[in-house]
C-alpha cells in the first residue's frame, strides 16, 4: 500500500492571529502572542503570562452564528476548521468526508463556571454550561456546524492529541475508508489546566525560552488548527493542486512516568524513528524540525537528547513555535502541523524566539532568525502526558 495523502487546506487560530495569513505574518515578523491575562478570570492574573486568542466569545459567536453558551473550545475549533475547508476549495458534501478532532479537557471552560454554583447546591448551576462538557461534545458542535457526518471522532492524549488525529486521518484515507478528512484539534485556556500545570511547577512567570539553557518552563496558550487531508482521487478533481503531502507518522510510548519524559527521550526517539521509517526517509532528508519544545527543563532535554542521538552529525535546523503561541495543549500538534505545511509552502524556517544560551548538553541550537530556503521535508513533534509521543512528517511534492 503506497497511496499518497495530500494537504489540500489549512486553518488556524491562535494568540498570533485569527487565521492563516495573520499567523504567517506574525511568524515572519517575530511577534509573540503572550501577554497578561485578559479574558481568563484567574487569581493568577498578573503573575502568569498566557497566550490568548484576541477575539472574545461574543465576537467568535457572532462570526459563526453560534449561541453564546457554547464552549470557547468549540468556537475556536469551528473557526479554524471552516478556514481549512474554505482554503481547500473542496465541496465536502461531494465526498465521503470525516471530521477527526482532538482536545484535552472538552468544555471545561464552561464546566468550571457551572461548578461554582453546583458545589453550593447540587440543584443549581445552569445546565447549558455543562451539557457540552465531554470532549466529544465539543467536536460535535463543529462537525454539525460543518455538516460532516460520514465519520466523526475525537482523540484525547493530552498534548499530542491533535497530531494523533492527523495521522488517523491519513491512515483512513490511505485505506480507502474516507476521501476527505478535516483533522486537527482545539483547546481554550481554562483555570483547570492553568492551575494543573501550575501545581506541577512548570509554568514560566516570564515569556518562555524553549531549548535555552536557562529555560524556566512553559506559557499556556489557546487556539485551534486543522488541515484538510485528501486522497489521490480527490486531488485529480481539484483545480489548484496541493503541494504538500503527509508522508510519515508514528506514535510511541515513553512508558516512564505519567507526566515526566525519560531522561534519554526513549518515546520521543521511537516516534521520530517510526515516522522516518514510514516516510522512507533518513535523518539527513529532514530540512526542519518543528520541536515540541515546551520550554520545560524536562521536555527539552528529553527531546533534545533524542534528536542528538537520532540525527547525530546531521542536525537539521530546529525551532519551537511555542515561543510564539504558548503551549496550546490539545491544539498544539495541529497548529504546529499547519506551521510545518507553511514552512514548505513558503520556503521558511521560523525562529525560536528569545533564545539566548545554548543548552550545555546539546551540540546544536535552534534557529533564531527567519530563514528563507527551500524546505522539502519537515518533522513535527508532539509529546504528551502518559508518555504519548507522536511525530509527523510533511513533504513537498
Amino acid at each position: 500500500m503506497n497511496k499518497n495523502v495530500y494537504i489540500a487546506g489549512i486553518g488556524v487560530i491562535s494568540a498570533i492571529g485569527n487565521n492563516v495569513a495573520e499567523n504567517l505574518a506574525s511568524l515572519k515578523a517575530g511577534n509573540a502572542g503572550m501577554g497578561e491575562m485578559q479574558r481568563l478570570q484567574s487569581s493568577h492574573k498578573g503573575k502568569l503570562p498566557v497566550a490568548e486568542v484576541k477575539l472574545n466569545n461574543e465576537e467568535l459567536c457572532k462570526q459563526l452564528n453560534l449561541p453564546a453558551h457554547i464552549s470557547r473550545t468549540a468556537l475556536l475549533s469551528t473557526v479554524a476548521a471552516k478556514e481549512a475547508i474554505d482554503c481547500s476549495g473542496i465541496h465536502i458534501n461531494n465526498y465521503r468526508t470525516g471530521f477527526i478532532s482532538a482536545n484535552s479537557v472538552g468544555g471545561m471552560d464552561k464546566t468550571e463556571k457551572f461548578f461554582i454554583e453546583f458545589l453550593n447546591d447540587h440543584n443549581s448551576g445552569d445546565l447549558h454550561e455543562v451539557v457540552n462538557h465531554e470532549c466529544g461534545a465539543v467536536t460535535e458542535i463543529t462537525a454539525d456546524h460543518l455538516g460532516i457526518r460520514d465519520f466523526v471522532t475525537t482523540v484525547s492524549t493530552a498534548c499530542s492529541s491533535s497530531a494523533n488525529s492527523i495521522f488517523l486521518a491519513a491512515r483512513l484515507i490511505r485505506q480507502g475508508m474516507l476521501d476527505v478528512v478535516v483533522a486537527g484539534g482545539t483547546d481554550s485556556l481554562t483555570k483547570f489546566t492553568l492551575n494543573g500545570f501550575n501545581t506541577l511547577m512548570i509554568l514560566d512567570q516570564e515569556y518562555c525560552q524553549p531549548f535555552d539553557d536557562n529555560r524556566r518552563g512553559l506559557n499556556l496558550g489557546e487556539g485551534a488548527g486543522y488541515m484538510v487531508l485528501v486522497s489521490e482521487k480527490v486531488v485529480e478533481s481539484m483545480n489548484k493542486k496541493p503541494i504538500v503531502k503527509i508522508t510519515g507518522w508514528a506514535n510511541a510510548n515513553d512508558a516512564h512516568h505519567q507526566t515526566a519524559s525519560s531522561p534519554d527521550g526513549t518515546g520521543n526517539m521511537l516516534a521520530m524513528k517510526g515516522a522516518l521509517k514510514k516516510a522512507g526517509l533518513t535523518p539527513s532528508d529532514i530540512d526542519y524540525i518543528n520541536l515540541h519544545g515546551t520550554g520545560t527543563s524536562n521536555n527539552d532535554i528529553a527531546e533534545g537528547t533524542a534528536i542528538k542521538t537520532l540525527f547525530e552529525g546531521n542536525y537539521p535546523p530546529v525551532s519551537s513555535t511555542k515561543s510564539f503561541t504558548g503551549h496550546t495543549l490539545g491544539a498544539s500538534g495541529a497548529i504546529e502541523a499547519v506551521y510545518s505545511v507553511l514552512a514548505i509552502q513558503e520556503g521558511l524556517l521560523f525562529p525560536n524566539l528569545r533564545f539566548a544560551t545554548q543548552m550545555k548538553e546539546l551540540p546544536f541550537k535552534p534557529v533564531t532568525e527567519l530563514v528563507q530556503k527551500e524546505v522539502k521535508n519537515v518533522m513535527s513533534n508532539s509529546f504528551g502526558f502518559g508518555g504519548n509521543c507522536s511525530s509527523l512528517i510533511f513533504s513537498k511534492l
Partner: protein, 323 residues
C-alpha cells in the same frame, strides 16, 4: 452471572470490584482512582488470558474520562480559590491515563491512543485497532473501554432527566416508564491478526455511524450482506435497549421488522446504561461463545450480532463468529 445476576434498585448499577492487588502493584493502587483500577484490572486479566505479554498497540475509549480525578481537582480549585492544590488529581485526570498506566505497568513502548467520542468512543478505538492491523503496523492490539459513575456527575446527569426514579434492574426492560439506570464498567480485548490457541471468537466486522440519515434497518441489512451472513444464520442478537420507553421503541421495532423469530437479548440490565457499554456487550458475547464451545452441542453459538445505538445517535454493530 446468568444464574443469579446481581440486582440493583434505584437509578444506578455500580461495578462489583475485584481484589485489585491481583492485578496491580499494591503500592500503586493507593493513588489510583476507581476508573484506573477498573481499567487496569480488566486489561491485565485480558493479557493473562490471551497469552500475549506485550501487545503491538494499546487503544482505549472513554466518554467521560477520569471523572473522579477531574472532580477532585476542580472542587479544590473552586473551594480553595486556586490555591493549595496538589498535582496528583490533575495528572491523573487526562483522558489517556488508563492506556498510559497499562503501558507503564507493561513497559510497553508501542502505539498508544485514546478516543473520547461519547457513545462511539469504544467503537473508534476498535476501528483504530482494525485499521492499524490493516496498515501492517500491529499484529496484536489490546483494546478496551472504561467509564465510571461518580456522585457529582450522576447528580448532574439525573437533572437532565435520564434516569428512572425507582428503577429495578431485573425489571428494567418491562418497566414501561421513561428513563434508564446509570451504569459503568471497564472491558478489554486482545485482538490478533493471527488466530492463536487461546483465540475465542472471530471479530468479523465492526461499524459505527454518526447521526446518520440512513435508516437503521437499511444499515443492519447492508452490514449483514457485506459480511455474507443472512439473518437466518445469526444464533443470537444482543440489543442495546435500556428500559427507557422512549428509546426502547426503536429496538422493539427492529426486533419485529428484522429479527422476528430470532433469539434476542438485552444486556443493560447487567451493566446499566453508559456511553461505552457496547464494550460490555462485546465481552458478554465473547463469554457466551466461549461457553458454547465448551458445551459443544446444538445450543452452542456460532454467529452473534450486537446492535447498540447510544441515545439513538451512534448506531453501532459488531458481528462475531466462533472460531
Amino acid at each position: 452471572m446468568f444464574g443469579s445476576p446481581a440486582t440493583y434498585t434505584g437509578d444506578k448499577l455500580s461495578c462489583i470490584e475485584p481484589d485489585y492487588t491481583k492485578y496491580v502493584d499494591p503500592k500503586l493502587i493507593r493513588r489510583m482512582s476507581r476508573i484506573i483500577k477498573m481499567g487496569m484490572a480488566a486489561a491485565m486479566e485480558t493479557l493473562q488470558q490471551s497469552g500475549i505479554g506485550q501487545p503491538d498497540a494499546i487503544i482505549t475509549g472513554t466518554a467521560y474520562g477520569c471523572l473522579a480525578d477531574t472532580e477532585t481537582f476542580l472542587t479544590r480549585l473552586v473551594e480553595f480559590n486556586e490555591e493549595h492544590l496538589s498535582p496528583t488529581a490533575f495528572i491523573q485526570s487526562t483522558h489517556n491515563t488508563v492506556g498510559a498506566q497499562i503501558a507503564l505497568q507493561l513497559g510497553c513502548h508501542n502505539y498508544n491512543n485514546t478516543y473520547v467520542h461519547r457513545g462511539s468512543s469504544f467503537e473508534a478505538a476498535m476501528l483504530d485497532a482494525v485499521s492499524l492491523m490493516q496498515e501492517g503496523e500491529a499484529d496484536t492490539v489490546l483494546v478496551g473501554a472504561a467509564d465510571e459513575i461518580i456522585e457529582k456527575s450522576h447528580a448532574i446527569i439525573r437533572r437532565f432527566g435520564q434516569y428512572k426514579e425507582n428503577g429495578h434492574s431485573s425489571k428494567l426492560f418491562t418497566s414501561g416508564t421513561s428513563g434508564t439506570m446509570a451504569g459503568e464498567g471497564a472491558a478489554f480485548f486482545m485482538l490478533a491478526k493471527q488466530k492463536n490457541e487461546n483465540a475465542i471468537a472471530e471479530l468479523k466486522d465492526v461499524k459505527t455511524y454518526y447521526k446518520t440519515r440512513r435508516s437503521v434497518a437499511n444499515i443492519i441489512n447492508n452490514f449483514l450482506m457485506e459480511n455474507n451472513v443472512p439473518v437466518e444464520e445469526l444464533n443470537l442478537v444482543i440489543l442495546g435497549n435500556n428500559g427507557d420507553a422512549k428509546t426502547d421503541a426503536h429496538y422493539n421495532d427492529l426486533a419485529q421488522k428484522i429479527f422476528s423469530g430470532k433469539r434476542l437479548m438485552g444486556y443493560k440490565n447487567y451493566c446499566g446504561e453508559y456511553p461505552t457499554s457496547s464494550a460490555f456487550a462485546l465481552w458478554l458475547a465473547v463469554r457466551m461463545i466461549e461457553h458454547g464451545k465448551r458445551l459443544n452441542n446444538e445450543t452452542s453459538l456460532k454467529k452473534v450480532l450486537i446492535y447498540n445505538n447510544y441515545k439513538l445517535q451512534y448506531p453501532s454493530l459488531y458481528l462475531l463468529s466462533v472460531c
